[in-house]
């Protein structure tokens, strides 16, 4: 052991210097300019509970994506069956992805089957039966395709939300997928949580549909809705009283164009100082828009966002060039946010907020202060306790304990782990528990001394015999911490991380570092009695 003293010294020095290097960026306000060339500059990251911010869990309603896919498929099939002269009496989407087609007579069944196989390979017949002269065919989508739709709906939602958040302007947002259909959004330091929530969660499905000019509004409101029409409302807020008025419109349910065709959306101000949104369309969208406006001069075109009518201007003339406007008594803020969501695109399916955790900046600051004060006071108490109880050996253990803290914090910086309030509690708890290894060793040494062993032998025996116990007892704590790591949400994860790192570091500091100090002292000084 004697020869290895220098090596151990070098190892400890290496670990300590390394830790201090990793810790440096966290300790100073700004690293020197030459620093990043040689050393990492990762800082210990503070969790949302410490720096303030918002954590949101969204669920993508993937079933809705499947439904709208099936709906499109149905409309497409309807148009094509007409073209192909495959006669049917009705075609409806009855539930989810189930489409029911009633064919005019059994003779067309074969043609229908062939056509389906050829053109719609993903639509599978689940059953068919004769009903008098008619044949009822029930179709369902291929389960694999349904899976694909769901998966891509979540992917696309993730992408869209990412775009929106980027444009919203938050420093270091974190957007990730959780499980099959959940998306977690973390926005540190967000100032206006409500606005952020609105912006991210809005489906923003922009649709252009025609107003049914032939319908009698009063009769429709009485319940007599013409086939293929729906009632949608325009919300008008009185700027003075804040009262909301809803203006009904009878709209033809057929979607002529959607926001997919959008190239850009910008906030504009008109001469009356009111804000509106100017949109420009892709070339293909522009052509479609020209076609639609050309065919419907004199009619009203409703601009609908998430089933709310924003405006329904009369088409005066064919519009070419792919420019359009959305008006709607917006505040500047609303207009800006709307432009953001339109630019970022619509969500493929609605999302629901499953969980929200928002911590205000003042509470975060309080938590840091309180957490650190408590940890430092607790730490000082433990240091005193060890000094009083074990005297010189207690002092040695305290050096190990302080080094343990340095290692723990450095590890947090290296692993880019997040420090949370429970994480700080984990550090404090580590302080309390890290002394356990030294207590075990010292109690052993005391026993050996009582048996009459000289210092060096007592030390040797104490360390050797305590080692297994330390190992066994720490492994179980780590098992608990690992389980927590798997299960926990943000703050709790932070606790599990600091606790496991702290315990691992204590194995090094409490065993290797203290042993080195003792060996060093025994080698260089004449020690008759161990102060333990």
């Amino acid at each position: 052991m004697k020869g290895s003293l220098q090596w151990r010294f070098l190892l400890i020095l290496f670990v300590l210097v390394g830790s201090l290097i990793f810790l440096f960026p966290t300790l100073v306000k700004e690293v020197p300019s030459w620093w990043p060339k040689f050393f990492p500059q990762d800082k210990i990251q503070l969790g949302l509970d410490l720096q303030g911010g918002m954590h949101l869990t969204f669920e993508v309603e993937t079933d809705k994506a499947v439904e709208s896919s099936a709906e499109r498929l149905k409309n497409d099939l309807r148009d094509n069956l007409k073209k192909e002269r495959i006669f049917y009496t009705s075609i409806d989407r009855v539930l989810g992805d189930v489409i029911e087609v009633v064919l005019l007579n059994p003779d067309v069944k074969q043609k229908f089957d062939d056509y389906l196989k050829d053109q719609y390979p993903t639509l599978k017949e689940t059953s068919s039966q004769k009903e008098g002269d008619r044949v009822k065919v029930v179709l369902g989508m291929d389960p694999r395709q349904i899976e694909d739709i769901k998966k891509s709906a979540v992917d696309q939602a993730l992408e869209t939300i990412r775009n929106r958040v980027d444009q919203f302007g938050v420093a270091e947002p974190d957007i990730s997928r959780q499980g099959e259909d959940r998306i977690i959004v973390q926005l540190p330091g967000v100032k206006d949580p409500e606005r952020a929530k609105d912006l991210i969660g809005k489906t923003a499905l922009l649709e252009f549909k025609l107003v049914d000019e032939d319908a009698d509004l009063n009769r429709v409101l009485a319940g007599d809705v013409p086939f293929g029409d729906v009632i949608l409302y325009q919300r008008v807020v009185d700027p003075k009283t804040g009262a909301v008025r809803k203006i009904p419109y009878v709209i033809k349910d057929r979607t002529l164009m959607t926001g997919d065709t959008l190239k850009d959306a910008r906030v504009r101000i008109d001469q009356n100082n009111r804000s509106y949104i100017g949109i420009s369309l892709h070339p293909a969208g522009a052509r479609l828009f020209e076609e639609i406006t050309g065919e419907n001069v004199g009619r009203r075109l409703a601009i609908i966002l998430d089933n709310n009518v924003y405006s329904a201007p009369v088409i005066n003339t064919r519009i070419s060039g792919g420019e359009a406007v959305i008006e709607g008594r917006f505040t500047m803020q609303e207009a800006r946010d709307l432009a953001i969501v339109l630019r970022a695109g619509s969500l493929p399916a609605p999302v629901q907020i499953l969980e929200e955790r928002t911590v205000g900046p003042s509470l975060g600051k309080d938590s840091i202060n309180k957490g650190f004060t408590a940890t430092i006071i607790g730490g000082i108490l433990v240091l005193l306790y060890m000094m009083i109880y074990y005297r010189f050996s207690g002092f040695v253990a305290n050096i190990a304990l302080i080094m343990n803290m340095v290692l723990l914090l450095a590890a947090l910086a290296v692993l880019r782990a997040t420090l949370t309030l429970p994480g700080i509690a984990g550090i404090a708890l580590t302080v309390g528990m890290a002394v356990d290894a030294n207590v075990l060793i010292y109690e052993r040494i005391r026993e050996e001394i009582r048996l009459g062993k000289p210092p060096r032998a007592a030390l040797e025996a104490g360390y050797t015999r305590a080692f297994l116990t330390i190992m066994d007892s720490n492994v179980t704590t780590v098992i608990a911490a690992l389980v927590l790591l798997q299960f926990g949400t943000g703050p709790v994860k932070g606790f599990a991380i600091t606790l496991s790192i702290g315990i691992a570091a204590s194995m090094f500091t409490a065993i290797v570092v203290t042993r080195f100090i003792f060996d060093f002292v025994l080698n260089n000084f004449h020690v008759k009695r161990l102060s333990v």
Binding site: T57, G201, I353, L354, E355, E356, R357, T358, V359, G360, S362, L363, D366, K370, G371, T373, A374, T375, I377, G378, G379, L381, V382, Y385, Y389, Y390, R391, L421, P422, A425, A428, L429, G432, M433, V435, D436, V439, L440, E443, R446, R450, R465, L468, T469, D472, S473, V475, T476, T477, I479, A480, A481, V483, L484, Q486, F487, G488, P491, F495, V532
Partner: protein
């Protein structure tokens, strides 16, 4: 030498194991009765779903004043509680509601308070909203985590020691968890995710403590082959007693400081830890080790 436990201490712990069992039994029973009377653990919004808003007013208010302000906005089902651990004028407003339109609820609360107290009169410091689906998920995951942790420990102890020791260890953790949940219920504390984390930590700590004693028993067994297991365990417990107390005290010291100075957000968490560490320390002697004695008396190990 400073010693809290003099060497050669011979306390007959195992002889008094019945007192320990009785004490634990009574504590557990009281806890379970409290749980039954409260209709299960007092789940916080993490597990039950709902909304929690932490508000700081510029000055302390009567709860009724806040309640009134919320009532006007139609928020009657809310419970309001002072949150002194975070400071004066700090309150927690809880609501069980968690409709899909949850975003709206915190706005409603905000509006209601602005109407009564003005923009400057209060500050919303924290909003937590958990939908019922997430709550249920977390509950299942929490139970899974606890079971998983216990199985992990059982396997590890069986591998390192003998199965009868593992049984004692697991009995002890179950004891600690039940006692802690019971006392939390008695103290009317909420059962939240941090509290669950505390429980798992307690499990880890308690086993840690137990293993130190078991380790000594394992070491002493070959030396004291002629002695009855009860005697061996007694000696081992006594030999490790000062370490058990020293570590327990140092951990508790830190936790007590955290409890008083760490702020309201982790109050329940540290409370649970304190209770658990006290009982975890106690159980490694009176439950874990004593269970091995009971097991041995029931199913004596065959001497080869």
């Amino acid at each position: 030498m400073f010693e809290i436990i003099k060497p050669g201490t011979k306390i007959d712990f195992m002889g008094r194991r019945r007192i320990g069992f009785l004490f634990s039994g009574v504590v557990m029973l009281i806890g379970i009765i409290s749980l039954i009377l409260h209709g299960g653990p007092n789940y916080g919004i993490d597990f039950a779903g709902g909304t929690l808003v932490q508000v700081r007013f510029s000055q302390p208010l009567e709860l009724d004043v806040i309640r009134d302000a919320l009532k006007e906005a139609g928020l009657e089902s809310s419970s309001i509680q002072g949150f002194e651990a975070e400071g004066k004028g700090e309150y927690l407003i809880r609501m069980q509601t968690s409709s899909a339109d949850l975003g709206g609820l915190s706005v409603t609360i905000n509006d209601a308070l602005t109407k009564r107290f003005g923009d400057k009169g209060f500050e919303v410091r924290r909003i937590e909203m958990v939908g019922p689906k997430v709550g249920k998920d977390l509950r299942t995951k929490g139970i899974m985590a606890t079971i998983l942790a216990m199985i992990g420990m059982l396997i590890y102890i069986s591998w390192r020691f003998e199965f009868r020791f593992a049984v004692g260890g697991v009995v002890a953790i179950c004891h600690d968890v039940i006692v802690t949940i019971g006392i939390l219920s008695l103290a009317n504390k909420e059962f939240s995710i941090p509290v669950l984390a505390a429980l798992l930590t307690i499990v880890g700590y308690s086993i840690n403590d137990t293993i130190v004693v078991y380790d000594r028993i394992r070491e002493n067994m070959p030396r004291m082959q002629r002695e009855r297991l009860e005697k061996v365990i007694n000696v081992s417990v006594n030999e490790t007693l000062s370490r058990t107390l020293l570590t327990g005290v140092s951990t508790l010291m830190v936790l007590i400081v955290l409890f008083f100075l760490g702020g309201g957000v982790i109050h329940d968490f540290t409370f649970a830890l304190i209770v658990g560490i006290v009982f975890g320390t106690y159980s490694s002697v009176f439950i874990a080790s004593a269970s091995v004695v009971v097991w041995e008396n029931k199913f004596p190990k065959k001497k080869r």
